[in-house]
Point group: C2
């Protein structure tokens, strides 16, 4: 007790999702999660501020990561190039190697609870604001920066939903590519 | 009392917005609204189910209107043509001739209250679902239907925000045209 527990974070996440899906998010307590994971509440609070953070950990880092990625990209790249090149790596960073099964269970837990769905929407809205600011800092005009940010987040959301709905086949980078190709085709003069 | 009051609806809307902005949405009661408008609560409930509906009246009709517009459009028109031709008339229908000042006050009232902001987002999400279904009913593939719906709603939201931020100049149809042109330019191969 009190020592570093290898794999503790993943065990806590798994136990929390089991309980959220079995009995609901509201009804689940931190002691129930730690009991199921065979760990102490002390260990829990070393990894997460509260039970909600089990679902949204690392989210507060996204705006900063977006700002860094956009600031470091070659100045010659326009907003749509940046979206095309950046979206798949950004998705990989957001999901941090978590498997399809974990993400499907996470989505089911969030969908079951209006307050969590709202939080998920807020996450996307913060992502969009960070992108908009990043584009403006690169000299993109206000209207284009706003639209590019919205389209990037929309493509991200649509691609992730589609990928999960299809049980991970084709893989996420491929699904993101298909989604961006559909955006381009839709808005091209021939479409 | 009990008779039809000419202009009653507009007087109630104006009184409600005055109070929402002065003292907050939560603190405002229907009797306060009717007292300010010089009308009875009976008249209020002939026009609105509750005080929230003063801000969102007619919203439940939007999905049906979207479905009708899409079903009646010539089959040759693709999703982006439909968005280009339909967005400005749709905006006119949504705002039903309400002036800039009313819409600015309505936005300020909604922005001040998280539950109202969430309701406004839900409105856009219902609009997007109706568009997606309408496109699919026209034979558009699932991915394109979803993206076209999201892009239409995004362009609508961005254009309305921009129009309000700039105090109505240029007018809304022009602002919608500029916004859609920026979407096309952004996603074109040259951009």
């Amino acid at each position: 007790m009190g020592r570093w527990q290898p794999g503790a974070r993943e065990r806590l996440e798994r136990a929390a999702l089991d309980l959220f899906l079995d009995q609901g998010f509201t009804e689940t307590t931190v002691p129930q999660i730690t009991a199921r994971a065979g760990l102490t509440t002390r260990t829990f609070f070393r990894h997460f501020a509260d039970k909600r953070e089990v679902l949204f950990a690392g989210e507060h880092l996204v705006p900063e990561q977006v700002a860094r990625l956009l600031a470091e990209a070659p100045p010659s790249l326009g907003p749509m190039d940046l979206i095309t090149e950046g979206l798949a790596p950004a998705a990989a960073e957001v999901f941090q190697g978590r498997g399809l099964d974990h993400l499907l269970r996470r989505r089911a837990a969030i969908d079951a609870e209006p307050a969590l769905r709202e939080r998920e929407l807020r996450k996307y809205s913060l992502m969009s604001e960070a992108l908009e600011k990043g584009f403006r800092d690169r000299g993109v005009d206000d209207l284009t920066a706003r639209l590019a940010a919205e389209i990037a987040v929309t493509a991200f959301r649509v691609a992730v939903t589609r990928w999960l709905d299809r049980n991970g086949d084709p893989d996420l980078p491929t699904t993101i590519g298909q989604t961006l190709a559909a955006v381009r085709h839709l808005t091209s003069p021939q479409a």
